[in-house]
């Protein structure tokens, strides 16, 4: 053990320089070539920064498409999930309340059409997406709140569907922030 102490300390110091220092700086330098330069990419509307491209944000107004429920109210400096178990009675009551509240705001929608992603919280509480069905069930409400034809909003949703990777792998989904930015531009 004794003859190992000195090499252990010296080797640890070398590792600190290499893995904390050189490695980090190498990635930092590489990131300068990336979009956003490693600082994060923002989304703009009307020449104003309204969010980060990758991060979901809260939408509760009837005239916007809503994001999913969030266990942390879309706090991007303290993210997290609900960690509720599937059989927890308090949790199930909360889901039921969200369904009821959704149906009150969207009277034209039948219960069986509401997809579960709209009434369950995401893993990080910052999910930027909703499912395609989750966007379509909100169309009538948004169109009524804005006094624009339903077909126009439907077409907008269709244009904003993100396809699976190369059309083959993963889920179809809609980015809520992008959709709402496009919605505000709609005349």
């Amino acid at each position: 053990m004794k003859q190992n102490i000195l090499p252990a300390i010296r080797l640890t110091l070398v590792c600190m320089v290499f893995f904390m220092g050189i490695y980090s700086l190498l990635i930092l330098a590489g990131a300068q070539l990336a979009p956003g330069k490693g600082k994060g990419e923002t989304a703009t509307a009307n020449n104003r920064v309204v969010g980060w491209k990758l991060l979901g944000q809260e939408f509760t107004d009837d005239k916007y498409f809503w994001s999913r429920p969030s266990a942390v109210d879309y706090n991007a400096a303290g993210s997290g999930g609900s960690n509720k178990g599937p059989s927890n009675p308090d949790y199930l009551k909360q889901v039921q309340d969200r369904i009821d509240s959704f149906l009150v705001h969207n009277p034209a929608v039948k219960k069986g059409e509401v997809p579960s992603d709209l009434v369950t919280a995401s893993g990080a509480g910052l999910d930027p997406h909703i499912s395609v069905q989750g966007a379509y069930v909100q169309v009538k409400r948004v169109a009524a709140a804005r006094n624009i034809p339903v077909e126009k909003v439907n077409a907008l949703v269709e244009n904003n569907i993100e396809q699976p990777l190369v059309g083959l792998f993963g889920t179809k989904r809609v980015n809520v922030l992008q959709l709402n930015i496009a919605l505000d531009k709609l005349k």
Partner: protein, 566 residues
């Protein structure tokens, strides 16, 4: 075919396709054979050895290896304690995050030095950037420790009769610089180009479309996330780990990160074939591991895609499946796949919240950690599997009335005793820990009300999961558990320490003792260990040990919850 399932198939097949050539490369690194990266890394390694004062050619026996390993791990632990308890005033702290309390620093230091990465803090508020960087250092070198000690066991399996098993420091440095470092650079750059932050600035701020002011945590995330996946560490930069949109921006990065979880654990199996020049044994090991992995995977993907039966009863649609704690960009299939890969490999990063898994999918995650050798953590996963091989050889030997021999070495009482102790240690730590915490909670629910986020059987599963994760050096959690308390910090810290180092010491001792024994050439009387029959035998041993140890606990947790929801 469903695009979600296609995604899962793609991830697995791609991983195996890359792991085979990588295994060959790792074998060459272990054997110091020539590789195409030598020109780059020979001078790097030379600098490491020179500045570290190490003679990489000095051969060590198994005891010297363990002594070197334990000493350097102690140094890491002490340094980690110092940084975590003082980072509040140390540099690189633009957000002004506080230092850790002693019990939390103990838990976190043990957790990262033992390659577990159990996190009782949340990255955004609980660490300075220096804290993140020092943890990233442990992610590199604790993973390298596992790989290095695995190389020692490979070497012992290969040699005919010797006690010279290479140099520990040399294996350690070469594993870190030649295996982990180049892969981490590639993965980190892919992440940075897909939008993962890589900077040293404090929080950013914006005003949302509805007029809310939002702060966004950032920092040197991309560098850490790459090595957290590759080294089966799993400790995330952000609290919710790879479910966070900045930590795992899209489906493509999800493929890259998930591939990184399984890549080195599978490659090491093929490295074994290269080092001992017995490819058939490597394929036998791979087949047994894959069979177990697939069984857990089918179960998890099926139940997650089916959705939550309690929500189905409310009459809404579940077109994707169970969505609580999941991200729409990944969906339940890729989340379940991640959940199983991260638990069988002792990685412990997550891209969805395991606490919200449907009961039997949660059981797949639990079983992955309880068995802990279907691929397993980098290096140590094979060490666990090695124990099961020794037990299987012994039992088959008894069954057919032949002397138990493995790779030309007789397995005798001493080796069997060590193997049995190590095989039983893991269930003991899990069950004793869970029993203790359940006892405390059951006798005074008011005093420990902050512990459980869910009532009933699921609450029991939360405690079972925490100890299973600690003992498997996994690090994922049923995160509803209120675990930043002295009880959980200290109890899990002790479990992680025992569960890391004893299962390293045991197999290295067995391999070292066997290596010194007289080599007996194969004859007609030798039990063949590279056949399908022997593979089935190993699988049966693993299954019986797991079933006998864990079925009662699982029956009280996920199984009872499943039937309660029907």
């Amino acid at each position: 075919m469903n695009t979600e399932i296609l995604g899962v198939l793609l991830m697995y097949l791609l991983t195996v396709a890359l792991a085979i050539p990588l295994g060959r490369y790792i074998g060459k690194v272990f054997e110091s054979d020539r590789t195409w990266l030598d020109r780059l890394f020979n001078p790097v390694d030379k600098t490491f050895f020179k500045l570290g004062g190490i003679d990489p050619k000095k051969e060590m026996n198994w005891k010297q290896h363990l002594s070197a390993l334990l000493t350097i791990n102690l140094v890491w632990f002490l340094l980690s304690m110092f940084v975590l308890m003082n980072m509040g005033w140390l540099p690189l702290n633009p957000d002004g995050n506080p230092s850790m309390t002693a019990d939390l620093a103990f838990n976190t230091s043990v957790s990262f030095v033992t390659n577990t990465n159990l996190q009782h803090y949340s990255g955004e508020t609980g660490l300075s950037y220096l804290g993140q960087l020092i943890l990233m250092l442990w992610q590199f070198i604790s993973a390298a420790t596992g790989i290095a000690i695995c190389a020692v066991v490979f070497r012992a399996m290969k040699e005919k009769t010797t006690d010279k098993l290479g140099n520990f420091y040399s294996y350690l440095v070469r594993s870190a610089t030649r295996i982990l470092f180049p892969l981490a650079v590639v993965v980190a750059l892919i992440l940075a180009f897909n939008g993962t932050p890589m900077n040293f600035e404090g929080k950013a701020q914006y005003v949302s479309m509805q007029g809310d002011t939002v702060n966004v945590s950032r920092g040197p995330a991309a560098a850490m996330i790459a090595i957290k996946q590759l080294g089966t560490n799993g400790g995330g930069y952000y609290g919710p780990n790879s479910a966070h949109p900045l930590e795992n921006p899209n489906y493509f990065t999800n493929i890259v990160e998930n591939l990184s979880i399984l890549l080195i654990p599978i490659a090491l199996v093929f490295a074994l074939g290269y080092v001992i020049k017995r490819k058939k044994i490597a394929w036998m090991v791979f087949a047994v591991m894959t069979l177990g992995f697939l069984l857990l995977l089918f179960n998890a993907v099926y139940f997650e895609m089916k959705g939550n039966p309690a929500i189905a009863k409310m009459g809404i649609a579940q077109p994707l499946g169970s969505m609580e704690g999941k991200e729409v960009r990944f969906g339940p299939a890729a989340s379940a796949y991640w959940g199983v890969t991260t638990t069988v490999t002792s990685n412990g990063s997550v891209n969805s919240m395991h606490d919200s898994f449907t009961p039997l999918a949660g059981m797949s995650a639990l079983l992955g950690m309880m068995i802990n050798s279907f691929y397993g953590g980098v290096g140590v996963g094979f060490l666990n599997f090695y124990i099961f091989i020794i037990i299987a050889v012994f039992i088959s030997g008894l069954m057919v009335g032949r002397t138990p021999e493995f790779l030309g070495k007789k397995i005798e009482a001493k080796e069997m005793k060590i193997a049995a102790i190590i095989a039983l240690l893991h269930p003991l730590l899990i069950l004793a820990g869970t029993a203790l915490s359940s006892y405390l909670y059951a006798h005074n629910p008011a005093a420990y009300a902050g512990w459980l986020n869910n009532p009933g059987n699921h609450g029991f599963s939360e405690m079972l999961y925490e100890f299973t994760s600690s003992s498997a050096n996994n690090g994922s959690g049923f995160e509803g558990l209120g675990d930043n308390t002295p009880f959980w910090n200290i109890a899990c810290g002790i479990v992680m320490l025992l569960a890391r180092f004893l299962p390293i010491i045991g197999p290295v001792a067995i391999a070292g003792i066997l290596a010194k024994k007289k080599y007996i050439p194969e004859s007609a009387g030798t039990l063949k260990t590279d056949t399908g029959t022997f593979g089935i035998m190993v699988f049966v041993v693993i299954f019986i040990v797991a079933a006998l140890s864990f079925f009662p606990a699982l029956a009280l947790g996920p199984i009872a919850e499943y039937f309660g929801m029907k």
